[in-house]
């Protein structure tokens, strides 16, 4: 009686709380990180006034957004207008239930038996991630529509078209990894990379590129930030949002960035594994906890995101579509075919 | 830097030497900036090639031609504006309309307004000014068909002076709003402005409303 309750209720609950707390903190500091990175790219200092070296800036931002007046445009579709931020933040957080950010842990020796640090490992993990994160687009479309503003509506429409079209090549890029891993479970994918003595970015370099570009588009980041293109659509789908509702859009964007970063790490760079996990003389690297490896991989991806933002102008809508359908989709299809063929050759011809 | 008499030596300033040859010699003539300014004087410019061509090409087009400060001003009758402009563009190569504006002379007998066209020719960078005397309420032909530039400039002249340009595709107010009562650059318009009231009490000036209201009905003239 004691055991099941402990296992099925308390541990997951603790884990959920821990993941959420850490995630929200990370997201908050991600904004700080981004502002600092952009600032240094742009020969300026960035936030440096609130707290020591500006470290309390995200807290101040969050506080400001919380106490800000919460405006609802008088002609807005009230219920949908309120629903939209929830629709976008919930999937962005829900995805984290399956992301394996580290292997098993004893929580610094507190537990006698190691338990998985991630919330759960379901056998269709990657499918779950793709499916749930697609729900987020509804938040954007509905938010854009319900605002009853033409700029918001156009932002919402742009975003719908963009996310739908980029999800296809993204899916194919994932498929090529799945072919190599032979499993949909994210934990299993990492394990396969350990067993295969190879991270998947080597055979899947093209898939990695496609996945990354699509990830940028999926999260509406520069150079694909058309749904919220400031200079064209004022602020796109969240033009009319203020206060905490705006903050939810904002948080969701960063949480999604983290998801894409994590998936890049998991699918292509061996998740929480250290470099060369099977090479014995590098075993001293194991003193560094696996979570660090995971976080640094994600961090690099996120940094590239910010680098993009500091470097690129924005695509035009039709060009964006052209890139997605005319380049990425055929490329990703070809990539799947090539990888499938490669696996076929490896499994049958070489062994036979 | 010193405030005393200029001592430019030509070796140091090749540029200054050309513009002020007087300063090379010790004995004054003074350089022009030390002297009293010499204002330009108007002179007759009927023999200017463009003016002559205009007089020959368009009947009765040239009433008067004056050169002032190297700029030729041709006065043309109101009826001939379009014809003269066409002629100057097509036959004389004035392909560029630099400026179009108006001047208000409320006391003048022959007509209250001067409409000014300021033309440019690229081949030899010549400019020519056309002046048309227009009385209040009289229309003047629009030259939008000749130079597209004229469109907004005529709208501006209409807005500011109330000069009606006949044949303009879209003669609306441009800097003030539809429904504004008055023409601000007329001399009898007070500098401190008028109480339009339009923005605050839309029903006071029903034909337009404030600047944020799209005027469904346009003001006639």
């Amino acid at each position: 009686m004691d055991q099941p309750l402990y296992q099925f209720l308390i541990i997951p609950a603790v884990k959920i709380v821990a993941i959420l707390a850490v995630l929200l903190l990370v997201v908050a500091y991600l904004t700080f990180f981004e502002r600092k990175v952009l600032a240094y790219l742009q020969v300026r200092l960035g936030p440096n006034r609130v707290g020591p070296k500006g470290w309390l800036q995200p807290i101040a931002d969050a506080f400001k957004l919380l106490v800000k007046e919460d405006l609802i445009p008088s002609k807005a579709e009230r219920f949908v207008f309120l629903l939209a931020p929830c629709l976008i933040i919930v999937p962005a957080l829900l995805v984290w239930s399956v992301i394996p950010f580290t292997g098993e842990t004893t929580v610094f020796g507190l537990l006698s038996e190691p338990i998985p640090a991630y919330l759960t490992d379901i056998n269709i993990g990657i499918l779950f991630v793709l499916g749930v994160s697609s729900v987020g687009v509804f938040g954007i479309i509905l938010g854009g529509w319900a605002s009853n503003s033409k700029f918001s509506l156009m932002g919402g429409l742009r975003s719908a078209a963009q996310m739908v079209s980029y999800e296809v090549p993204m899916g194919f890029a994932v498929v090529s990894v799945l072919l190599m891993a032979g499993s949909l479970s994210l934990v299993r994918i990492v394990e396969v990379q350990r067993e295969a003595h190879m991270w998947f970015f080597l055979p899947g370099i093209l898939a990695l590129g496609i996945y990354f570009i699509c990830g940028v588009a999926e999260t509406n980041r520069n150079p694909f930030d058309l749904p919220e293109a400031e200079s064209e659509l004022v602020a796109g789908f969240h033009t009319e949002y203020s206060g905490m509702k705006f903050a939810l859009f904002f948080l969701a964007e960063y949480a999604n960035m983290l998801v894409i970063g994590s998936l890049v790490a998991v699918l292509f760079f061996g998740g929480w594994l250290r470099p060369f996990p099977n090479v014995e003389f590098l075993a001293f690297l194991d003193v560094i906890p696996p979570f660090f490896w995971f976080a640094s991989k994600v961090g690099v991806v996120i940094f590239i995101y910010m680098w993009f933002r500091g470097t690129f102008p924005r695509y035009r809508f039709d060009q964006l579509m052209a890139v997605g359908w005319k380049w990425l989709l055929p490329l990703s299809l070809a990539n799947v075919a090539v990888i499938a063929l490669g696996i076929l050759v490896k499994n049958h011809l070489l062994k036979g | 830097m010193s405030d005393d008499k200029p001592t430019p030596s030509p070796e140091e300033q090749p540029g200054a030497a050309k513009a002020a040859p007087a300063s090379q010699e010790e004995a004054p003539p003074k350089p022009p900036w030390e002297d009293k300014p010499v204002p330009p004087v108007p002179s007759d410019a009927a023999d200017d090639p463009d003016v002559a061509a205009l007089a020959a090409g368009v009947e009765d087009a040239v009433v008067e031609a004056v050169a002032f400060a190297d700029q030729v001003t041709v006065t043309i009758p109101r009826e001939k504006v379009l014809e003269a402009c066409r002629f100057l563009k097509e036959e004389r190569g004035f392909s560029f309309l630099v400026d179009l504006t108006a001047v208000d002379w409320p006391e003048r007998e022959e007509g209250r307004f001067d409409v000014i066209h300021w033309l440019h020719r690229f081949e030899d960078n010549r400019r020519l000014r056309l002046r048309t005397v227009v009385a209040e309420g009289e229309p003047v032909a629009s030259v939008t068909g000749v130079w597209k530039t004229a469109n907004w400039l005529e709208r501006e002249a209409y807005d500011m002076f109330g000069i009606h340009f006949e044949g303009h595709p879209n003669l609306e107010r441009i800097l003030t709003w539809e429904g504004f009562n008055g023409h601000p650059l007329r001399k009898d318009f007070p500098v401190e402005g008028i109480d339009t009231g339009a923005a605050i009490y839309p029903d006071v000036y029903p034909q337009g409303g404030g600047p944020m209201v799209d005027g469904e009905e346009k003001e006639g003239a």
């Binding site: 300026r44 200079s231 102008p313 | 900036w33």
Partner: protein
């Protein structure tokens, strides 16, 4: 069957009021758009939100007191505005200014041009989504504004010129400071260019966008970089030299295709040429007075005079009409380059997308202060 297909949905054009409060309209420009999806069917610029009656004010004040009003026309490049006005009045009064004054005027005007182009580049890039050049250009623009401040105490509305010359001489060390800046500046231009010129997305967004042929450009009265971008080699500084522009050596860059990208290249090159002009001016800067001998009260002969200068945005002309012995303009019309250039917006954006509208507004480099006056 037969006949055109009925649209499945109720299709209608969308009217979108782009501005007057919009991040990309560079002020209070409003563009009334008719859209089919994102395609622009019709664009109608609506201006006048910043109308202050400057031309009316000119009529009320003595010539020298008009100069502060000119600052507020194109408030990005105040020196060229001052210059245009004083050059016109000097022409009317027959004043020749001392060479030192002319050279200092040219230095200030070219600094103003650089600062205006820097602001243009910053906003144009940010309109197209590249945020970083903004901070790079503002770093240099800040230095230029500091130079202005050191010269006359103001940073934006300089009021830096007088009829007959200049109000102040250059302070000590100013020339050295300016020379130092000009020494370093071409490298900074290269820096901006590395960010944009060969950037594929930048090219995709600008090449072939907002194309206008040379004939069309002339017909629409475009001047300045938009005209030169279409390949017309025409610059007031060369054609009707004022101050001492005939004595300095510089090129007039032109484009080929008349698109946004060419106009971008033209402006980038113009900044380099401005640096050249400034360096030549500083090398030749003669000693001597900075004011011509002009009477305290300026009295003009009767007549009408138009004179123009090459402002950063195009030909900035002042048309002044005076009455006999007039101590103030009877009528002063400003020919603002932005006003005339903006007129061609509907042609430039015809059939393009909303995103291109932003690019085209940026490439015209308009300032509403001078459009609305």
């Amino acid at each position: 069957m037969g006949g055109p297909l009925e649209p499945l949905f109720d299709v209608e054009e969308m009217e979108l009021s782009f501005g007057p409060q919009h991040p990309a309209t560079h002020g209070v420009l409003r563009v009334q758009l008719k859209l089919d999806g994102e395609k622009i069917l019709d664009a109608r610029p609506i201006i006048g939100y910043l109308h202050r009656g400057t031309e009316k004010l000119f009529e009320q004040e003595p010539f020298n007191q008009c100069i502060p009003h000119t600052d507020r026309l194109d408030y990005i490049a105040a020196p060229t505005n001052n210059q245009g006005f004083v050059v016109t009045v000097e022409k009317l009064l027959g004043i020749t200014i001392p060479p030192r004054a002319a050279y200092i005027r040219m230095i200030l005007a070219e600094l103003g041009r650089i600062s205006s182009h820097l602001l243009w580049l910053a906003t144009h890039a940010i309109d197209l989504g590249a945020i970083t050049p903004f901070f790079y250009t503002f770093r240099e623009r800040e230095e230029i504004l500091d130079l202005f401040e050191a010269y006359c105490g103001a940073r934006l509305t300089l009021n830096a010129m007088r009829v007959g010359g200049l109000p102040y001489d250059l302070p000590d060390g100013w020339v050295e400071r300016c020379a130092e800046m000009m020494e370093a500046f071409p490298a900074h231009i290269d820096e901006y260019e590395t960010l944009l010129t060969e950037n594929r997305i930048w090219k995709k967004r600008t090449v072939g966008i907002g194309v206008i042929s040379a004939e069309e450009a002339i017909d629409w009265g475009l001047t300045g970089p938009p005209l030169r971008g279409s390949g017309v080699k025409w610059d007031i500084r060369k054609v009707f030299p004022y101050d001492r522009y005939d004595e300095v050596d510089f090129e007039v860059p032109i484009g080929k295709n008349g698109d946004t990208y060419d106009r971008y290249l033209v402006r980038m090159e113009e900044m380099r040429q401005s640096v050249r002009i400034i360096q030549q001016c500083m090398d030749r800067l003669p000693d001597g007075p900075i004011m011509a001998k002009v009477p305290k009260v300026l009295r003009a002969p009767e007549g009408m005079v138009y004179a123009s200068v090459e402002a950063p945005k195009g030909e900035l002309g002042y048309f002044i009409v005076t009455t006999p012995k007039g101590s103030q303009p009877y009528r002063c019309h400003v020919r603002p380059p932005s006003f005339v250039n903006l007129q061609s917006l509907p042609v430039l954006v015809d059939g393009l997308l909303v995103a291109d509208l932003v690019a085209v507004i940026g490439t015209l480099d308009i300032v509403l202060g001078e459009i609305d006056r």
